[in-house]
């Protein structure tokens, strides 16, 4: 009894910790947009005045356009393939009670904890051994690899709430398993699929290390940014670009989380 009471008492130290943690996490991030509008090539206080010059410069940069377009292509392709693989994986894990599914799940989730440097080097060795030219394609393959676990985790939530009798009803009404998937399963888990696509896209879009190892001569946006940092006068432009990427990423991740929370099949399939 007294223990339970102690447990529910407001925990002051924990609250302080949480506030500090959030400040530590987001203060640097919040500074980025601030300096991106600062009329000085040095990212330092005191602020000099308001300007949108850095944004204009960045928009005019041809190299940036190329890198951005590369990143969008890689991100889109990686997101689509990782999500397709994720659908199969999540469906297999949640629907068929396969024996030994736990260890298999562990192996699939491994890329979540393997350092990207190791993954990048390993892939680089493998690809150069088999004589594959480094290109955007190799980057995409690397990104698919790191995206699949995220996709599976995202989709598992959708498939777990999915009522098996829905597919049986579709089969009973004359659909073979492909039609049943297309007409019933897919629309019902669609929010999860969209969430997975968005999540995978942002992961790929922001990823640096794998791209650094596997990109060859073409560069993605993070690599472009890294290259810019060698020139001090380019720093404000990078800050402007960073601020924009940050905003876009925030919006997309929020959207993905929101979509994940609402799968139409989950709440209503049961009888009252």
């Amino acid at each position: 009894m007294s223990r339970a009471a102690a447990f529910y008492r407001p925990n002051r130290p924990l609250l302080v910790y949480a506030v500090l943690y959030l400040a530590f996490l987001y203060a640097p991030v919040a500074l980025l947009p601030v300096f991106s509008f600062n009329d000085s090539i040095y990212a330092a206080f005191p602020l000099q005045g308001f300007t949108t010059q850095w944004y204009a410069d960045m928009f005019a940069d041809e190299a940036m356009h190329g890198a951005l377009w590369n990143s969008v292509k890689v991100g889109a392709v990686a997101a689509v393939f990782a999500t397709i693989l994720g659908v199969f994986g999540a469906k297999a894990i949640t629907r068929f009670r396969i024996r030994g599914v736990k260890p298999v799940l562990g192996v699939i989730m491994l890329p979540l904890v393997i350092p990207p440097v190791i993954m990048g080097v390993a892939l680089l060795v493998l690809l150069s051994q088999s004589g594959v030219q480094l290109s955007l394609i190799t980057v995409t393959i690397g990104h698919i690899l790191i995206c699949v676990p995220f996709s599976i985790v995202t989709l598992m939530a959708s498939f777990e709430g999915f009522d098996k009798s829905m597919e049986e009803a579709a089969a009973d009404l004359g659909d073979n398993s492909w039609w049943a998937f297309w007409r019933v399963t897919f629309p019902m888990v669609f929010p999860g699929i969209l969430a997975s696509l968005l999540l995978c896209f942002t992961i790929s879009f922001d990823e640096f290390i794998m791209a650094f190892f596997l990109a060859g001569t073409e560069q993605t946006l993070p690599i472009f940014i890294y290259g810019q940092l060698r020139f001090p006068q380019r720093l404000p432009g990078v800050l402007a670009l960073g601020a924009m990427i940050l905003t876009a990423t925030f919006v997309i991740v929020f959207l993905a989380q929101w979509l994940r929370g609402r799968s139409p099949g989950v709440a209503q399939s049961g009888s009252e």
Binding site: S165, D172, W179
Partner: protein
């Protein structure tokens, strides 16, 4: 009812899940246009049997024939059956009309024709004009109707229903029973109806298969199952029943004289059973076949004296418990138009007489009870 006019034939079908025998050598023939019920307690294998008819499970042994064709190799989407699922399985991402039209894909109808068929199906289940409703805006009874319309629009030869009324309240359920029966008769489709509610099965069915532990114990009309149960399990499951341990003391032509504990000698119709004197059997008597009277009346074939232990007045009928010396449990008696207490002098604790006819006694093989 076996043999040639059977439309749906279940031939010695067995299904196991690991060590569990869910369906055990079930042998049933169902006629075309018949309303057939699978009745039994929870876990007796009703759903599993129905799923084998729909094609969701494959029998381990035996075969299912529909219209003379073996269907074991046929996947669900190619079978001439449709199912109303226990939870209705209404597609949440489609509105009512799209749900109902779901099974028409292969027919490739022009839009107008399809709309007409959908409206027709909805009117059949009294949901005309509900096509635009979203599927999460439906009550339980409406969901049940949508599921029915969705299955019927495909004009199946056999409609399989898995406890379709289980989720509805009592009043709605009784209304739906009547509608379901009318619908089945007007369409002439064979219905296989799963239920654990014996009253529901009795009301609706042409014939019933009473199931227990994966086996079909008796397949017969409701009347026969009620009046001539072939085993103690069936007799116990369908309605109320008094059971008495008895021994056959002599048989003479169509009649047997029994020696029952607490009752002394009692006469019973043999009804075709071949019983040897000395055999141990169980005599069963329906509560409503017993007549209760305050004094011994002459002319009754069987009579016994007891004490009125409890009485309950239920409006259209009354229930009594009568304690008879030498019996472990009180005898249950049901009577219509009985006033408890008052004028008849039948207060609790009063001595009473029970009488019954020879042919009311059902003779059953004794088994573990």
């Amino acid at each position: 009812m076996a043999g040639d006019d059977s439309y749906l034939r279940i031939e010695r079908v067995t299904k196991r899940f690991g060590a569990v025998v869910a369906v055990d050598a079930v042998d049933i023939s169902i006629g075309a246009g018949e309303f057939f019920s699978l009745l039994g307690p929870s876990g007796c294998g009703k759903t599993t049997l129905l799923r084998m008819l729909a094609g969701f499970e494959t029998p381990d042994e035996g075969e299912v024939y529909i219209d003379g064709q073996p269907v074991s190799g046929q996947p669900p989407h190619l079978r001439p059956t449709n199912m109303v699922f226990q939870n209705y399985a209404i597609f949440p991402h489609l509105n009512v009309a799209r749900n109902v039209a779901y099974g028409l894909r292969k027919e490739k109808l022009p839009r107008q024709e399809e709309d007409r068929r959908v409206e027709e199906a909805l009117e059949m289940v009294k949901l005309g004009g509900y096509g635009d409703r979203r599927s999460n805006e439906l009550s339980g009874g409406q969901r049940q109707r949508v599921a029915l319309a969705r299955a019927l629009i495909r004009r199946p030869k056999v409609l399989l229903l898995d406890e379709p009324l289980g989720a509805l309240d009592k009043k709605l359920r009784e209304d739906m029973q009547i509608e379901l029966r009318q619908l089945q008769q007007s369409l002439g489709i064979t219905f296989v109806f799963v239920t654990h509610d014996q009253e529901e099965a009795m009301t609706l069915s042409d014939r019933i298969a009473v199931m227990a532990d994966g086996r079909a114990l008796q397949v017969a009309s409701p009347k026969e199952v009620y009046n001539r149960p072939t085993s103690i399990t069936v007799a116990d499951f369908i309605g109320q029943m008094n059971f008495f341990e008895a021994r056959v003391s002599e048989t003479a032509g169509e009649e047997a004289v029994l020696d029952a504990a607490g009752f002394g000698r009692m006469r019973a119709k043999l009804g075709g059973a071949a019983l040897q004197p000395g055999a141990s059997i169980v005599a069963a008597l329906r509560p409503e076949k017993l007549t209760l009277s305050p004094a011994r009346s002459d002319g009754a074939a069987n009579a016994v004296e007891g004490v009125l232990e409890a009485a309950a007045y239920l409006g259209d009928r009354s229930h009594f418990h009568v304690r008879v010396a030498g019996l472990e449990r009180p005898v249950a008696v049901a009577a219509q138009d009985w006033a408890v207490g008052g004028g008849d002098g039948l207060d609790e604790g009063a001595p009473v007489w029970l009488t019954w006819d020879n042919d009311s006694v059902i003779l059953l093989e004794s088994e573990r009870r």
